[in-house]
């Protein structure tokens, strides 16, 4: 079997799939059409709901992929054809000439400076001009220039040739030819993504005609510090800052009439919310207004984000789909007419209008996929079955990301990890080369030489430089004792900057490096790698955050921000003088995996790990497998659940690699990544298992409500109970003629201020199943926002077509149910359309009650030392890019333990968690961190305070002296703070280092 995997597409999906495969020790070839990887995420300014800088969180992943020895990246390349062979596939890859030698180019940028040909810049959506030889953006990976063959004078007419003359590296090669390469691979992952559709399909919005109407992706470029306006919002017609910005939702989405785009693009509501917030942050006088049909804030913490947008940033939300835009010819302002909540028409003028465009499948991809037998749906998406996400129906070919339907970044990352786990089957090798070569490398001993500190101050585009006077900080740094070198960089994290830093370390003989930029949380590893490459111990790096903790928070006082930046740099140098080399430790990996929870997610994760050849201990509290899925009868997409559950349970029971523990509770978990020991309690029998990774799949439960008379009347049921009534052909159905479904019961307000994501689709599903058999029954759905996101939208359309009537209510004016007698109710609901209260006589109430976290989450979270969200669900390491990881290494989450989700989403997340666990289980050794507490036995009194406060159980008192288990120690420092006699110190954060750092503040 060929052990290489071909990943087509270098957006965040392809990148994640590549990283996971490489993490499992599988060789990867990634093919990207554009000159750089990163895809659309690289074009975004920030990401919701945390407003993290998109490039900042993406860049480390891109660099990690590019620096992986197991990954070959082909940019400017496309897959022309794939042929199935006996043991895999042969792909024909066309690599288009860059006319720049990738190995020689140092991305110094001289060529672009001197190039005389200006062309529209595609990375900036052609808003600004760029040169004919260019790199898309500063942090682009690979950091290699490319000549635009359509416009180059030398290539077209044989003239010019300036770039060749000025290139100091001799990297320009006009003779470079397109190459065709044939590659044998064992599996293929298609992650080609989707494209935003053109708003021209709705000409009434004036895109392409009115200058100040832009698309949401163009607007992202305006907001971005590296964009065409350096992050200043200006309107195209006069380059002035707009004061009133309108966002128009569903341009092309949810629109069956234009171009058959009957689906919802699923991320645009939140993208607009984020962009509106960022817009308001740009100045106190800018107002943002969002015009929408339904706000689809269905994800984790999304409703809270929308609430904050309203209350903290003053973003206005107006529920009115816009019919058309009119430009005032003299001012180029745009008049938008909308309907007020009381039904009146109102005209409002805006300076800039942003059209929220969704995603569609690009034309032309079909040929490649259909050529190997992959089927596409009516919209051109490559949709998998709900029980087999990532599957294409063709063995060895898997899909992830927006090629499977519109989705946001975390769903893309999850689906990418899932596809990686599918592609890995049969390719994972148990005897892979252990990590740790780097540790054996000899570092020069710098202990004797005089301290030479280099200071790098990052401009972070305009993030820092627009507030802090960076040149003066650099100048100041040079005056600090021991600083022998200082300079500024536009983006210290870009590939060429890292290379530059390495050169400077060598050139100036630096033995300490201070980087004044952003957070070590996101970027320390990157700069540490640079130090390593320069031959320095990576712990001789000290970062100081002059962005998050300086320029961002002191925007209004730039002078004082500059002073603060100088002080921060001085303190960092103060600590850097006392840094010492540190070394990581290695420990062996236990090859088994623990999966907690025998519901759908737990079973699927267990099967996936086991199918890849590793032993799984699957723990279930109940006496049976299946969890919530046992109470679901069918899926929205039509799949029969019972037979699928039966199939999955059977596979789990029969799998030789799965050891099942039913009726079992967890009594305690000890250890750390690669080396856990878990005590299990089955009845009163205690057993213990050893394992290298943990997958948390404990699930969630249906909310128990007391609203609308539930539990006091058999004619008031939950959505899930109604499914059973439908399935069992309950005689009640004969009597009931009129049914009301009330959505968002106890949800999206008060204590439960979150959306349960599934209830709208559940109502739609129930309507479709009901109407199949009883088309004459009347159904009213009382809802707040219909959140049938993505490819679920066509089912909502179908539900309306059955005659079910959807009436919207406000949280402040809930439906009032009057019980006439058992099985007879009158609902008074204020209909916004009629502007009057409508009285609906119904015989059955179906409540959309949503999903609650388990009460036991708290206990499990404490045992695993992982956090929960405000709502009580497990909190992943990063909402966008680490959706199944915890910040505690070796522990992963999937299914509804993480938050409410649909069946297909739970399975995708289960496969993703399995893939992430496999990146650990496939290793023989794992590297643990270098920071660790240590005890000075001469000072230790053995009082035990440190052991008491240690959250990780890393300290024991042995013979009246504290003893630290360095493999368990997380380097948190709690013990050093608690120790009465100053006997415990933490390497990397020694008392002396911290004191010296602070002394600088008080000079």
């Amino acid at each position: 079997m060929n052990k290489r995997v071909l990943v087509i597409g270098g957006g965040i999906g392809g990148v994640q799939a590549g990283l996971d495969l490489a993490g499992m020790g599988i060789k990867v070839t990634l093919v990207e059409e554009k000159p750089n990887i990163g895809g659309r995420m690289a074009q975004l300014d920030k990401t919701f709901p945390t407003n993290d800088c998109s490039t900042c969180i993406l860049s480390p992943k891109l660099l990690e992929l590019a620096s992986s020895p197991d990954v070959d990246i082909y940019t400017c390349a496309s897959v022309e054809g794939i042929v199935k062979t006996e043991d895999g596939f042969v792909a024909r890859i066309k690599k288009r000439a860059r006319f720049v030698d990738e190995k020689k180019c140092t991305a110094c940028g001289l060529c672009a400076q001197k190039c005389p040909v200006k062309v529209p810049d595609p990375f900036n959506k052609n808003i600004t001009m760029s040169k004919c030889i260019r790199i898309p953006y500063a942090q682009a990976v690979p950091a290699v220039y490319m000549i635009d063959r359509e416009h180059c004078l030398r290539l077209l007419e044989g003239k010019c040739g300036v770039c060749e003359k000025v290139c100091p590296a001799g990297a320009i090669d006009y003779e470079q030819q397109d190459e065709i390469k044939e590659l044998s691979v064992g599996a293929v992952i298609v992650a080609t993504g989707a494209e935003e559709f053109t708003p021209r399909i709705r000409p009434e919005y004036g895109y392409g005609i009115y200058e100040n109407v832009v698309t949401s992706i163009e607007y992202e470029r305006f907001l971005s510090a590296s964009g065409p306006t350096n992050g200043h919002i200006v309107r195209p017609s006069d380059q002035k800052e707009p004061k009133r910005v309108a966002f128009i939702q569903c341009v092309g989405s949810r629109d069956v009439a234009s171009g058959e785009l009957g689906y919802c693009s699923s991320f645009c509501c939140m993208q607009a919310t984020k962009d509106a917030v960022v817009t308001c942050e740009h100045g106190p006088n800018i107002r943002s207004t969002i015009f929408y049909i339904d706000i689809r804030a269905y994800g984790k913490d999304f409703d809270r984000f929308v609430d904050r947008a309203k209350t903290e940033h003053g973003v206005e939300y107006k529920r009115s789909r816009i019919s058309g835009i009119i430009e005032s010819p003299d001012t180029k302002n745009l008049v938008v007419r909308y309907i007020t909540p009381d039904g009146a028409l109102k005209d409002e003028e805006f300076d800039l209008v942003v059209l929220s465009v969704g995603l569609r499948m690009p034309d032309g991809l079909g040929g490649l996929l259909e050529g190997i037998g992959v089927k596409l749906d009516a919209y051109g998406f490559c949709r998998s079955g709900a029980f087999s996400p990532g599957d294409t129906g063709v063995d060895g070919v898997y899909v992830c990301g927006t090629v499977t339907g519109p989705m946001d970044i975390p769903e893309t990352v999850v689906s990418a990890s899932a596809a990686a786990s599918l592609a890995a089957r049969g390719l994972v090798s148990p005897d892979r080369e252990p990590l740790g070569k780097a540790a054996d490398r000899k570092e020069p001993d710098t202990s004797g030489s005089p301290i030479a500190v280099g200071v790098v101050v990052c401009r972070c585009g305009t993030n820092i430089a627009s507030v802090v006077d960076v040149p003066s900080v650099v100048e100041y740094a040079a005056s600090i004792p021991n600083v022998t070198f200082s300079e500024e960089l536009l983006y210290a994290c870009s590939q060429d900057s890292i290379r530059h830093i390495i050169n400077k370390i060598r050139e100036h003989g630096l033995n300490r490096v201070v980087v004044a930029s952003c957070s070590p949380r996101t970027h320390e590893a990157l700069f540490q790698k640079g130090l390593e490459q320069a031959g320095l111990n990576k712990y001789l790096l000290q970062m100081t955050n002059i962005r998050d903790q300086c320029s961002w928070v002191h925007r209004d006082t730039p002078d004082r921000a500059t002073e603060k930046a100088k002080e921060l740099v001085r303190m960092a140098v103060g600590k850097a003088r006392h840094l010492t080399p540190l070394h990581e430790r290695y420990s062996d990996v236990k090859k088994d995996c623990l999966v907690i929870g025998g519901g759908l997610a737990g079973m699927m994760a267990a099967l996936d790990v086991a199918d890849n050849g590793f032993v799984v201990h699957l723990i279930e509290q109940e006496s049976f497998l299946g969890g919530n899925l046992l109470k679901i009868k069918s899926l929205l997409t039509g799949e029969d659940v019972a037979s699928a559950v039966e199939r999955i349970v059977k596979r789990v029971l029969e799998h030789p690699k799965i050891e099942l523990f039913l009726n079992t509770d967890i009594a305690g978990i000890e250890g750390y990544v690669g080396n856990f020991t878990t005590k299990l309690l089955t009845g009163d029998r205690e057993t213990s298992v050893e394992h290298g990774a943990v997958i948390v799949a404990t699930g969630a439960r249906e909310h128990v409500t007391e609203s609308y008379g539930y539990r006091t009347d058999p004619y008031v049921v939950t959505g899930r109970e109604f499914e059973t009534i439908l399935e069992k052909k309950n005689p009640l159905l004969k009597y009931v003629k009129r049914i009301a479904m009330i959505q968002c019961v106890d949800s999206r307000e008060g204590e439960r201020n979150y959306c349960s994501r599934v209830c709208c689709s559940q109502a739609v599903k129930n309507i479709l199943r009901l109407k199949e058999r009883y088309p004459e029954k009347t159904v009213y759905v009382l809802y707040r926002d219909m959140r049938t996101y993505g490819l679920r939208e066509p089912y909502y359309t179908a539900a309306r077509e059955t005659g079910a009537l959807f009436l919207r209510y406000d949280a402040s004016r809930k439906p009032v149910v009057e019980k006439i007698e058992q099985g007879s109710f009158i609902i008074d609901v204020f209909d916004k359309i009629l502007q009057e209260t409508v009285r609906l006589p119904v015989q059955l109430l179906v409540l959309g009650v949503g999903i609650d976290p388990l009460d036991t989450n708290d206990r499990v979270a404490k045992m695993l030392k992982v956090p929960l969200t405000q709502d009580g669900f497990f909190s992943e390491a990063h909402v966008k890019l680490r959706p199944v990881d915890f910040s505690t290494e070796g522990v992963f989450v999937c299914g509804m333990a993480h938050g409410p989700k649909h069946t297909d989403e739970s399975i995708a997340q289960a496969l993703a968690a399995a893939a992430r666990a496999l990146t650990i289980l496939t290793r023989d050794r794992i590297r643990s961190q270098a920071y660790s507490a240590s005890v000075d036995e001469a000072l230790c009194t053995g009082c035990g305070t440190c052991a008491e406060v240690c959250a990780y159980g890393a300290i024991e008192i042995d013979k009246e002296k504290a003893r630290v288990n360095e493999l368990l120690c997380k380097g948190c420092g709690t013990c050093t703070a608690a120790c009465f006699s100053g006997a415990i110190d933490l390497s990397g954060f020694t008392n002396k280092q911290i004191v010296k750092e602070f002394e600088e503040l008080f000079i």
Binding site: R254, V256, G324, I339, A344, G803, I833, L834, V838, R839
Partner: protein, 168 residues
């Protein structure tokens, strides 16, 4: 003839009058087929030249009344005669609801079910033609002085047409 009009387009009747089959009756007629797709986004109202001059005229409300089954109110309402069949609502409707055609269906039902006399439709058609003529004549008079037209002239025309709205 006025007696057949009900003045109830803004009043919701008690539910005793609902006819849940009314929507299907309309959906079964040519042009009515997509009526149940309506998700009440309001695009029709914002496109409608009649809504522009008639504050309480709302195509969205008529559709909602049909979907609720308020048959008597709908067929008896003045509103179903207001549509001037410009089709802008239909062109812009994301769900392909053919509102002008639904109005045609309603008018036919109103005649068949005795809400108006057959002659009424002829009268409405004549009104439409007369209105077009008035529009053309007014335009002609402006076009005559198009080179010297002033803001005051436009204001006067607006006053004549009874409001200050702008065409969309």
């Amino acid at each position: 003839m006025q007696t057949v009009f009900s003045e109830t387009i803004t009043r919701v009747g008690a539910m005793k009058t609902i006819d849940t089959e009314f929507k299907r009756e309309i959906a079964a007629c040519p042009g009515g087929e997509h009526i149940m797709r309506c998700f009440a986004c309001g695009t029709c109202v914002l496109s409608c030249p009649v809504s522009e001059v008639t504050a309480d005229y709302s195509p969205r409300r008529i559709i909602r009344m049909i979907l609720l089954g308020m048959k008597e109110e709908v067929l008896g309402s003045e509103a179903i005669w207001y549509c001037m069949s410009c089709y802008r609502c239909h062109v812009r409707c994301p769900q392909d609801v053919k509102y002008p055609e639904i109005m045609r269906v309603l008018r036919k039902l109103a005649v068949e079910q005795g809400y108006v006399t057959p002659g009424f439709i002829t009268a409405v058609n004549e009104v439409d033609i007369a209105a077009q003529k008035i529009r053309r004549d007014m335009l002609k008079s402006i076009l005559k002085k198009r080179d010297s037209i002033t803001k005051e002239d436009i204001a006067e025309i607006r006053t004549l047409s009874g409001n200050g709205a702008r065409g969309r």
